[in-house]
């Protein structure tokens, strides 16, 4: 993972933040920092407290206790000095009625005194120039998300907050959006985003915080988290290529399961196993699966990750 960090200042400092809703402890002692130019992900299943945490950092909600510093300022209560420097993408439906993509963007941009020309450039950045005159409600889910991000971006903020930007998108639209997000990071912006797609966070983020039940369970670069698991590598073959008992005999194989469709070998030394399989000509359709953030989540919570 390449890191395109800025001069290395600290953009966000969150210290021991708590938030209750009645009996629900939505945010339970969360602390983290985000560096300038960093792509920071807050991950976790629905109800983990990601959105509440994000809203407290944005200054939309007050924490019950704890402190937040954003670009050297306190975001709550509403801090007008901070507003032009942050961009917040809300739900995909946060638009005015009956306006085209261009009109939506120009209206939101004008709230920051941004010109139509800059708005047009932003539309270009998110790849919606050819949809400029389409009404917002006629856009696809992915296009609407990109428009929503453009609305948060037009005034050239230093920090961009995105709440589940890829939720409910089809795989192609998600990938298009990833390109947009990378392009934004390439411009030196700090991005904080929440998602429940762990695979996506692994690809996009410099660092992630894994949240569950209001607490941060782990926080680091995705690769570091996965490596820290010391989890075995799984080698998957089509059923019938190698017999289960035979596979158990291979050097380096710790465990073997065969469900009748595929045979899975667990190993911590994949090299000798792959060599043996290559000698036997059994590499067709072979899959090697290493640990992912989902395994990290499983390891941390003791339960299967379900978004």
């Amino acid at each position: 993972m390449t890191r395109t960090r800025g001069p290395g200042g600290t953009t966000i400092v969150v210290e021991d933040v708590h938030k209750h809703y009645g009996d629900l402890h939505a945010v339970d002692g969360v602390s983290f920092t985000v560096a300038e130019g960093e792509f920071f992900g807050i991950l976790g299943p629905n109800g983990a407290g990601k959105t509440t945490t994000l809203e407290i950092v944005e200054g939309l909600r007050s924490p019950d206790s704890g402190t937040v510093t954003l670009l050297g300022e306190v975001p709550w209560p509403r801090n007008p000095k901070l507003l032009p420097r942050i961009g917040v993408q809300l739900q995909a439906s946060s638009f005015f009625d009956k306006l085209t993509a261009r009109e939506q963007l120009e209206t939101f941009a004008s709230l920051y005194g941004v010109s139509k020309a800059t708005a047009a450039e932003t539309l270009e950045l998110v790849g919606l120039t050819d949809k400029a005159d389409t009404r917002e409600n006629k856009l696809s889910g992915g296009q609407r998300q990109r428009l929503s991000i453009a609305c948060a971006l037009a005034h050239d903020p230093d920090v961009l907050f995105l709440d589940e930007p890829t939720a409910a998108l089809d795989p192609q639209a998600r990938r298009n959006l990833w390109d947009v997000l990378r392009a934004i990071q390439g411009r030196g912006k700090t991005i904080v985003y929440t998602t429940h797609y762990l695979d996506e966070a692994e690809i996009l983020c410099d660092r992630v915080a894994i949240m569950d039940k209001g607490k941060i369970l782990a926080m680091d670069a995705p690769a570091t988290l996965v490596r820290g698991l010391d989890a075995p590598t799984h080698i998957v073959l089509a059923h019938g290529l190698v017999a289960e008992d035979e596979a158990r005999g291979f050097v380096g194989v710790d465990d073997v399961t065969d469900d009748g469709v595929s045979l899975t070998m667990s190993t911590r030394k994949p090299a000798p196993v792959l060599t043996v399989l290559a000698e036997r000509g059994a590499l067709d359709g072979l899959q090697v699966r290493t640990a992912t953030l989902e395994d990290v989540f499983l390891n941390l919570t003791g339960r299967e990750y379900r978004a």
Partner: protein, 348 residues
């Protein structure tokens, strides 16, 4: 572009692209104008209908007077039977120089009117027969402007009601819709003050009201309806602004409580529709009981209606707007403060 201009523009565009909003703002009040206009056409006050038997100068004069309606009956006996049954209040019969009038004393008001009317016609005929010039001269003329047509009273009422409805709905639905879709939240995250947001929405409401009033009055002035505006009709403009302000504040209050557009619509209807009836929008409150007139005095629509009547058709001057205008301003302040107190940027 400034935030104020672009927000106003966004709302104007949204409004004029919304077919349902256009219908309810511009067409719906016109439907009422057509219905009430035709319903009350020529029916200022219902005329008395009496029986007429035979023919002659008196019967002809009565017919021409337009003061009574005549039902021609073949024989005097049949006509008298009708009067006895209470179907008609009186019968006039003329044969040669003798004029017979028979009336039902049970209906004193009507028979009195008929008696005076017929006596007057007979006297005139007698005077004409003598060939003498009349000694005393009567100069009758109505005090109201040109015509007594009901359209003169319907237009200000229906217009006030239309303005009230669109101001309440405009404010309430925008507020609910923006809160629900998080547009309010999005605006709050931008360096824009609440006065800018509020005043841009108000500008849109006033703009829509001006278009609505212009269209409504223009159509009411066509020969089909025959509205005749008084000379100082333009004084209706300040009234329009003050009325829009009052009902805008009601809309803000509704929008602060309602969570969905459906709820806002129901609340707004619940407030405006009964108010329209209680304020004499559709028919005058002259014959309403005293308590109802008292109730109507606390309703802003009554005063908007009154102010509009004064300047649009009664031909009164700016001083006639002081009381209605003052009440509307006071109402706006009170409801506005309450609405501000209950205002929420987001649900829960």
């Amino acid at each position: 572009m400034t935030a104020f201009r672009s927000l106003s523009l966004a709302m104007f565009k949204g409004f004029f692209r919304d077919k349902a909003a256009l219908f309810f703002t511009f067409v719906f009040p016109l439907i009422f104008l057509v219905v009430f206009g035709l319903l009350f056409k020529d029916a200022g006050t219902s005329k008395i209908k009496i029986a007429a038997v035979g023919d002659g100068p008196v019967i002809t004069a009565l017919e021409k007077s337009g003061a009574v309606e005549l039902e021609h009956v073949d024989s005097l006996d049949a006509a008298v039977a009708k009067v006895k049954n209470g179907d008609l209040p009186a019968v006039v019969a003329q044969q040669g120089d003798s004029v017979v009038l028979r009336f039902a004393a049970s209906d004193q008001a009507k028979s009195g009117t008929v008696l005076g009317l017929v006596a007057g016609v007979v006297d005139q005929a007698n005077l004409a027969a003598t060939g003498q010039p009349p000694k005393l001269k009567l100069d009758p003329a109505r005090v109201e402007d040109s015509s007594l047509k009901p359209i003169q009273f319907l237009t200000p009422g229906l217009l006030s009601w239309g303005l009230a409805t669109s101001a309440v709905f405009g404010a309430a639905l925008t507020l609910v819709n923006w809160r629900k879709k998080q547009v309010l939240r999005r605006i709050r995250l931008a360096p824009v003050g609440t006065p800018t947001v509020l005043s841009s929405r108000l500008l849109v409401s006033v703009g829509v009201a001006v278009v609505q009033a212009a269209l409504f009055v223009t159509i009411a002035s066509t020969p089909l309806f025959g509205l005749k505006l008084s000379g100082q009709w333009w004084l209706g403009l300040p009234m329009l602004v003050l009325g829009t302000l009052s009902f805008f504040s009601i809309g803000m209050l509704v929008g602060s409580f309602a969570k969905t557009e459906e709820a806002a619509t129901a609340f707004a209807n619940l407030l405006v529709l009964p108010m329209a009836f209680l304020s004499g929008t559709f028919f005058p409150l002259d014959s309403a009981p005293a308590w109802l007139k008292t109730v109507s005095n606390v309703l802003p629509l009554k005063h908007l209606n009154e102010g509009m009547l004064n300047v649009l058709v009664r031909g009164k001057g700016i001083d006639s707007l002081l009381v209605p205008g003052g009440i509307l301003i006071g109402f706006t302040l009170v409801v506005g403060v309450i609405a501000a107190k209950f205002f929420r940027w987001e649900d829960a």
